[in-house]
């Protein structure tokens, strides 16, 4: 399945990223992600810190299953993209510019809410060698905007 245009647009809109995983023995885990974008082969790549996200990374290596949650602070619009073929690889400096781009956009979102850049930096400023890339093919999308239908399926486009 392919992402719809509004989901692709959301990726670059200044969203907060939350990444979830679960080990084979049923231990859920989550961490903040730093950036995500659609790659030319239709897979999503999500960047996270190896130090911060070690548990999620281990869970993804364990099962290949991943949930990437994207939430736009200005309106709480929130979606999750799910994968079951996730692969972990070193990220490094290749993703430096992408992380910076997402960080600047996210910071602008939080500025409006009175959260200072120094606070956002506490989450974002990671050395390049700490960046890890997880690639997966989204097979399902869920609406996670708070409300009674949080968790319900969103349509994706057939590839």
């Amino acid at each position: 399945m392919a992402l719809t245009q509004d989901i692709i647009d959301l990726l670059g809109a200044g969203v907060a990223h939350q990444v979830g995983g679960c080990t084979k023995d049923g231990r859920p885990s989550l961490c903040r992600g730093l950036a995500a974008e659609l790659e030319s082969d239709g897979r999503l790549v999500v960047i996270l810190s190896a130090e911060t996200g070690f548990e999620v990374i281990n869970a993804v290596r364990d099962t290949g299953r991943i949930a990437l949650n994207l939430t736009l602070p200005e309106n709480y619009k929130s979606i999750s993209l799910l994968g079951r073929d996730a692969v972990v690889s070193h990220g490094g400096a290749t993703f430096h510019d992408l992380v910076q781009d997402r960080y600047q956009k996210f910071r602008a979102q939080l500025d409006v809410h009175g959260i200072p850049p120094s606070y956002t930096e506490a989450w974002y400023l990671r050395p390049d060698e700490d960046l890890v890339a997880i690639r997966f093919t989204p097979f399902s999308a869920r609406n996670q905007t708070p409300g009674p239908d949080a968790g319900s399926a969103l349509a994706l486009t057939p590839r």
């Binding site: 939350q18 990444v19 979830g20 995983g21 679960c22 080990t23 084979k24 049923g26 231990r27 859920p28 885990s29 989550l30 961490c31 903040r32 810190s49 130090e51 911060t52 070690f54 548990e55 281990n58 869970a59 099962t63 299953r65 991943i66 949930a67 990437l68 949650n69 939430t71 709480y76 929130s78 999750s80 799910l82 079951r84 120094s118 606070y119 930096e121 506490a122 989450w123 400023l125 990671r126 700490d130 869920r142 996670q144 708070p146 409300g147 009674p148 239908d149 949080a150 968790g151 319900s152």
Partner: protein
């Protein structure tokens, strides 16, 4: 293999991360290990091993938790950027009791802040056992904000002042003045619980344009009512819609069938747009006597430490208040009864009309609502006695024994009701005033002739 942190964190120590500025994030998984990430409205500290999460909707998270009993939760410190992650085991869902009520009151605050108070509804408080708690590594943490005051030292100073208060009026003023001077809490109201009428009556306030002594709200609404009903503190870090209180007061008056011409509603004090509120019950001798409500124009103004400090101070205040029922003095030599004088000496000018409605002892002075309930009955009795005999001084003992006042029980604090009546008359600058006339006694001062009328 998972790395384990060796943080010496405690759930108690990370309570302030559950304040809601940055929503808690929950990860659950289906039985086939597909994760689901969602934001929560609220997380609430229960005890050193347990946490409560708001359950509002039957959604994917709910389905997963019921199936697997497992969840992971992250919390972010609203000041430093630090984060913690918790591994949780679902135990049960509570739909009543203090934890549920605390969550519900907070949710009401959050929802009204977002204009969603008619949509958000708390179905339950999900209680989880905390299996693990560790710090999120790799964050560049900021220094914690400077505390507003030295809460422990200044609370102790205020406690000492309260301990030196010998009279109820002094005790009350010491508390409310001390909140501003020592704890930098500039907006406060002290509410009394009337168990017979099931209402809360405002005894005194600080920091508002109107004092509001004698104003009433229903016990069923708002964070004050919840704090009294459940006997627990309620803290909301977001804007609270004070209109709820006004509506509660209005509803109560309507239910009692007041004639529309005579509005019995005393204007409620309160910030127009409070951003933080904390209601703390006044508990003593196994009973809840009322509640202190403090508020601020700033988000997250009151933390758990404020809650702890005010719980201690309000407990001390409540015990002192309940013990200030003075020992009954011997009946003093009464002033010799004077021949009924209309008006008694000292009262001059046009007459004021004191009207009572017997069904709830509400009393109006020149069509302006004054007070009701026991305080209203007391005023009616004192003025009646004054007009009959010219007597101006009365003992608390005779009021306590007066059958027409129907004081609810021996624990009912007559002193508090007299203080409330005294303050209400003072606020109204009424032609009838009440003042203390020694231990266990009071004096009526009437500056104009009075005509009494009852239905």
């Amino acid at each position: 293999m998972n790395r384990r942190m060796s943080d010496d964190l405690t759930l108690f120590g990370v309570r302030r991360m559950m304040e809601g500025v940055i929503p808690p994030t929950l990860c659950t998984a289906s039985p086939d290990r597909m994760p689901n990430v969602s934001y929560l409205s609220l997380a609430e500290y229960v005890d050193p091993l347990h946490i409560a999460l708001s359950f509002q909707f039957f959604n994917r998270s709910r389905e997963n938790v019921l199936a697997t009993k497992r969840a992971a939760l992250t919390l972010d410190d609203p000041y430093t950027g630090a984060g913690v992650i918790l591994q949780l085991e679902y135990l049960r869902t509570e739909t009543e009791g203090p934890v549920f009520e605390r969550l519900r009151a907070k949710l009401m605050g959050v929802a009204s802040h977002a204009g969603m108070d008619q949509v958000f509804h708390l179905r339950g408080a999900d209680i989880y056992r905390v299996l693990e708690l560790r710090r999120v590594p790799g964050r560049r943490e900021l220094p914690a904000a400077e505390p507003r005051v030295d809460l422990a030292t200044n609370s102790r100073l205020l406690s000492e002042r309260l301990a030196n208060s010998g009279e109820l009026a002094d005790l009350l003023d010491t508390l409310l003045d001390g909140l501003g001077e020592l704890l930098r809490i500039d907006n406060a109201m002290l509410w009394l619980f009337d168990s017979a009428q099931e209402v809360l009556t405002l005894l005194a306030s600080r920091g508002y344009e109107v004092g509001g002594a004698g104003a009433e709200i229903s016990t069923g609404d708002g964070i004050v009512g919840t704090a009294v009903r459940e006997g627990v503190p309620i803290r909301v870090g977001h804007m609270m819609n004070m209109a709820r209180y006004a509506r509660a007061a209005r509803d109560r008056a309507d239910a009692l069938g007041f004639e529309p011409v005579l509005k019995s509603e005393i204007p409620l004090p309160g910030l127009k747009e409070p951003r933080s509120q904390l209601a703390v019950p006044l508990r003593a001798r196994g009973r809840v006597l009322g509640a202190l409500l403090v508020e601020s124009k700033h988000d997250q103004h009151f933390g758990y430490d404020d809650e702890d400090a005010l719980m201690l101070l309000c407990g001390q205040f409540a015990v002192a208040m309940s013990l200030m029922q003075p020992p009954e003095p011997e009946p003093p030599a009464r002033e010799p009864p004077k021949a009924a004088a209309q008006p008694p000496a000292g009262a001059a000018g046009p007459a004021v009309q004191l009207r009572r409605y017997a069904r709830d002892n509400s009393v109006f002075l020149d069509d302006v609502y004054l007070i009701r309930g026991v305080a209203g009955a007391i005023l009616w009795k004192l003025v009646g006695e004054y007009l009959r005999s010219g007597r101006r001084e009365f003992s608390n003992r005779e009021l306590r024994l007066a059958p027409e006042l129907r004081l609810p029980d021996v624990q009912d604090n007559l002193e508090v009701r007299l203080l409330l009546l005294q303050r209400r008359l003072t606020e109204q600058n009424a032609a009838i005033q009440l003042e203390k006339a020694g231990r266990g006694r009071m004096r009526l001062n009437v500056t104009r002739p009075v005509a009494m009328e009852s239905d």
